[in-house]
């Protein structure tokens, strides 16, 4: 059963094989491809994992410092990434984990969160300026560089720490947990925030509230439903509700950041 996972796992992110994989999804120690940090310099292109799996218990720390041992987490093509982005916008399907099961990638989370940092700061500032201009046309443009700082710390902190916390929590509770897949899922859940930041440029007040609420709910349900389908059979619904609330909290935090920007702009 482990061999199955290796022979098919090199097919890049294809959802076709996900049906056969479902039975092996919850097996015990995972291959070196699916654990983090990488235990040795396993390059995905080589005829690989049989000897790597044998070395799994002895953690060879040299793999942590070489770039080639991390390429296994970036083994995606453009169409795969686009496919995952589009499916992350769908809040009710709950099958994201089966899509990424064979080949979770870290490319998506890293660049989606980076994009979100810049989009939040710059477009958020622009949106506040346009809103203020509607009400009070004498207001002038002001930009505070420290918003980038705040946005970066909060977004990166959220994407890194929340899946890590869930990983440790689920390991403690005895359910299976996989850190890479959690990072992947939480990272892709931020896609919808990027799109709504563009929509929020519309300066109509009530419309902005509706957009923000819809975004928060969609993203939170994406996270919660996928988490539920991952932890199937376990009675950990508290954690699912907590995930939902955390995502809502992120939305509220973004909205609060906008209020702070607004106050900053109105300063004499």
């Amino acid at each position: 059963m482990e061999e199955e996972s290796y022979t098919t796992s090199h097919l890049l992110g294809s959802a076709v094989i996900s049906e056969e994989r479902n039975s092996t999804k919850h097996d015990g120690p995972y291959a070196s491809m699916q654990t983090f940090p990488p235990s040795n310099g396993v390059d995905k292109g080589q005829g690989y994992p049989t000897e790597a799996f044998g070395q799994q218990p002895t953690s060879n720390w040299q793999g942590v410092f070489s770039v080639s041992s991390y390429t296994q987490y970036f083994n995606v093509d453009t169409d795969v990434v686009v496919n995952r982005l589009i499916s992350s916008l769908n809040p009710v399907s709950g099958d994201f984990f089966s899509k990424i099961d064979a080949n979770p990638d870290l490319y998506g989370p890293i660049w989606i969160s980076t994009t979100l940092v810049f989009v939040l700061t710059l477009l958020g500032n622009l949106a506040i300026y346009l809103t203020q201009k509607q009400e009070d046309s004498s207001i002038s443009w002001r930009f505070d560089v420290s918003f980038i700082n705040t946005a970066a710390w909060s977004i990166y902190g959220y994407v890194i720490l929340v899946p890590l916390a869930y990983y440790f929590f689920l390991q403690y509770m005895g359910a299976n947990a996989n850190l890479i897949r959690f990072w992947c899922m939480w990272g892709y859940s931020l896609t919808i925030f990027i799109m709504s930041s563009f929509l929020l440029l519309v300066p109509v007040g009530i419309l902005r509230w509706i957009i923000i609420i819809l975004t928060g709910v969609a993203s939170a349900s994406f996270v919660a439903l996928n988490l539920r389908s991952f932890i199937e059979g376990n009675d950990l619904s508290v954690s699912i509700i907590a995930a939902f609330c955390l995502q809502i909290a992120l939305t509220v935090f973004i909205k609060d950041g906008e209020e702070r920007m607004k106050a900053f702009m109105q300063e004499p």
Binding site: V67, T114, F118, L122, V145
Partner: protein
Amino acid sequence: MSHSHNDTIPLHPSSQSDIDEIENLINASVNQSVPSARPPSPPRASIPVSVSSAPAAPSPFISSHLPPPLPLPKSSASPPPPPPPPHPSSAFGSPPNTLTEPVWDTVKRDLSRIVSNLKLVVFPNPFREDPGKALRDWDLWGPFFFIVFLGLTLSWSASVKKSEVFAVAFALLAAGAVILTLNVLLLGGHIIFFQSLSLLGYCLFPLDVGALICMLKDNVIVKVVVVCVTLAWSSWAAYPFMSSAVNPRRKALALYPVFLMYVSVGFLIIAID
């Protein structure tokens, strides 16, 4: 004649032209008379190298201003040192002793290299599509100047928090170049780390010009237009190098972060008031 070497690694298509170039230079310098192959430096008070031994040496590698290791009259007894890299400014015959040349020579050489690299990368020329030739003589002085200049310009344009603006711009560009290079390497691409850093730094030149114009002219419409034009120019400059470094199916994955970085810097230029 290079095919007589037993190459186990397949050559990059541009490497063959490099090897041919080096062979031609070797042959050309062997035919030269040895005394004229010395670089024109002022005579130094040092251990005298006997001139009489020089014509006896058919190999160009022996004659130099460095003292000979042992008083070997025969050139064939001493193994020739490895050939120095093809240096365009000095004769190929002897290694240039750059430690004792005037400072102005060093600065002039570095400046001319920056200018030539800039012309290769940012302006249209027939070598742009060949990553082996495009930035073969890479250096990091040019990128350093451009990044610092952009940070300084943004800092001057800002009315408050000038030092923080400089810090953000510098960190964004420097860390961004490193992260972009790592991104290509992680996607399984083939680039040389420092060559890529160098290229991403040189591609900032249009944004430098744009930032300078935006600093001098404070109109929003002008800023937006200027930034859009220079942004397109920067992206056009970086495109062939980045796209040829990775698998064609991952080209967009490698190019998107470059685009993201330049757009963010462009936004910063417009947004700094």
